[in-house]
């Protein structure tokens, strides 16, 4: 139990450090790389909680695919112009204040609801069955939300393809 606590708190410290660095580092690529480390840390936390499947999916989808794409796109941009446009001005100042408010709200909400987490869950889940239960839940209780999300992603994909065809590129229509 002691070792588990040490593991969890050191993991949490690392996670907080990486997340803090993600938003404070000036270089966008370095920020993205810190975000990768944060994602891997979140996967480790899921693993620690016994949700191995979610941990694996977190690694594949976020740490693997999404962040590779992020880093690659950042490398293709002219970063100096981006940094300049986001470091001064009224609009970005308002954005900063809004983000700070959102972060404070999130922290308050997490602090409020953390008491409930300490209570024992109603029915502890078996180790290997979590994946099966997750699948059953997704396809029965949350089927509607799941399908709506799928359609949303499809719309985004179609939009991206059409925009890239209009603006030119390797597969542009002439």
């Amino acid at each position: 139990m002691l070792w588990e606590a040490i593991g969890f708190y050191s993991l949490a410290l690392f996670l907080l450090f990486f997340a803090f660095k993600t938003i404070t580092v000036p270089n966008p690529i370095h920020a993205a790389l810190y975000l990768v480390l944060t994602m891997i840390g979140v996967a480790a936390v899921f693993f620690h909680l016994g949700a191995e499947f979610i941990a694996g999916v977190q690694m594949i989808v976020y740490a693997g695919a999404v962040m590779v794409l992020f880093v690659m796109v950042l490398m293709l941009f002219d970063l100096r112009a981006e940094i300049r446009s986001f470091s001064r001005g009224l609009f970005s100042g308002a954005l900063k204040v809004m983000s700070a408010a959102m972060l404070a709200g999130l922290a308050l909400g997490a602090a409020n609801s953390s008491v409930a987490i300490l209570e024992a869950p109603a029915a502890p889940l078996g180790g290997g069955d979590i994946t099966r239960q997750l699948g059953i839940m997704l396809y029965t209780k949350y089927l509607y939300a799941f399908e709506i999300l799928g359609i949303l992603l499809l719309v985004v994909a179609v939009g991206v393809v059409s925009v890239s065809r209009i603006k030119g590129g390797t597969h542009a229509r002439h």
Binding site: G56, Q58, I60, G64, L69, M75
Partner: protein
């Protein structure tokens, strides 16, 4: 980890041994690659240093260790140094999660004045219930080594290599994951050992309420998922950055791609990572589609255990596991040879051909394979009712 000192020690030694196995297979594969390429191209290859040219590897190791270390002046030193280390992590973690033989049962014994209880040691570093998801998740991090190398070197060619690598990895990861979904549906599990256990018997399946059994064929995944096997093998080539998908390091166009600025042992670490990926890829092919450590009519856990009836239970278990490990590694070596064979046979793809193959050919076929497998498995399990 384990419950007492002996178990913890053995489990730790096991992980180190598996890591050393990966590192030690690299010089052998380099030798096979050189001699194999020479054989394919009707040359001699390195045959002067030692018997069959094997001492050439030792000379190479000395060369790697004594070369000048070099850091590009305008790069990012931390990222530059981190990249070769990151290159070795995914392959090592993935290899440790793969079962290489059956578990070894150790009976209770006396040692150093105290008794040590019966143990079961798995022939792998660690076993999570969801081995497949873990291996996929870990190997999806492989692109970062290339990205970090390209970014940290601050070199145009390195950067091109890194960008190509990330685009390629994303494109082929989808097809790879989808082709594995067919296997998961077929065997109804995420665990590697269970998949292998299900392939140990004769080819038999239930269809529409009838049981079909073909006694002279093993129950291998390749007979159920030929399309999935083909797509997975091609995608694994792309994931390991091997020809015909070696655009990240295409030496004709990009000097050496992402590792242009690396020399000496740092370069060698990228190499260990690449060959580690080849090893993991070959083991995955063997586990998913070719029966893992079993070879049905002759070498299954039962038949091999029957050879060692005269020994004590611990010895018999150990010997059986070793024989089955050799069976598995023989299959793996065959796939490693295919990797090398393909490299010296096919030319490199052009970039648009690479993207078209990934997104327009392999992804639709992998999707089709997944949907078709799901429907057929549902019909076979429920007999058409429901």
């Amino acid at each position: 980890m384990g419950t007492d000192a002996f178990e913890i020690t053995v489990n730790f030694v096991k992980m180190v041994l598996i890591f050393l196995m990966m590192v030690q297979i690299v010089p052998l594969l380099v030798w096979v690659e050189r001699r194999g390429s020479a054989y394919i191209q009707n040359r001699f290859g390195p045959n002067r240093v030692g018997p069959l040219g094997l001492m050439q590897l030792l000379a190479d190791a000395v060369k790697f260790l004594t070369k000048e270390e070099f850091v590009p002046g305008r790069g990012y030193p931390f990222i530059y140094y981190a990249a070769p280390v990151v290159a070795m992590i995914p392959a090592t973690l993935a290899l440790n999660a793969l079962p290489l033989s059956i578990p070894i049962h150790v009976e209770a014994f006396q040692m150093m004045g105290s008794s040590w209880g019966p143990y079961i040691f798995k022939f792998q570093g660690y076993d999570f219930g969801i081995g497949i998801v873990f291996v996929l998740g870990v190997s999806s991090l492989a692109a970062y080594a290339l990205l970090l190398a390209g970014y940290g070197s601050n070199n145009k060619y390195s950067m091109y290599g890194a960008l190509r690598a990330s685009a390629q990895t994303i494109s082929y990861e989808l097809a790879m994951g989808l082709s594995i979904v067919g296997v998961i549906l077929l065997f109804n599990t995420f665990s590697f050992s269970e998949i292998i256990t299900q392939q140990a018997g004769p080819l038999s399946f239930g269809f529409m309420g009838r049981n079909v059994e073909i006694g002279w064929l093993p129950n291998w995944g390749i007979f159920y998922q030929p399309l999935g096997a083909l797509i997975l093998f091609a995608a694994l080539f792309a994931e390991a950055n091997r020809l015909p998908f070696d655009l990240p390091e295409a030496e004709g166009e990009l000097v050496a791609g992402y590792h242009t600025e690396y020399s000496g042992f740092k370069f060698n670490m990228f190499f260990i990572g690449e060959y580690g990926h080849m090893l993991v890829a070959s083991i995955l092919m063997v586990i998913f589609f070719f029966g893992g450590y079993t070879l049905y009519p002759w070498l299954t856990p039962e038949t091999v255990a029957a050879w060692f009836t005269g020994f004590s239970p611990t010895q018999a278990s150990l010997l059986t596991a070793l024989v089955l490990h050799v069976v598995m590694m023989t299959k793996v070596v065959f796939f490693l040879w295919i990797f090398i064979w393909v490299r010296w046979t096919l030319p490199r793809l052009r970039y648009d051909q690479l993207m078209d193959l990934g997104w327009r050919t392999m992804l639709p076929w992998a999707l089709f394979n997944t949907v078709a497998t799901a429907i057929i498995v549902l019909i076979a399990r429920t007999g058409g009712v429901n």
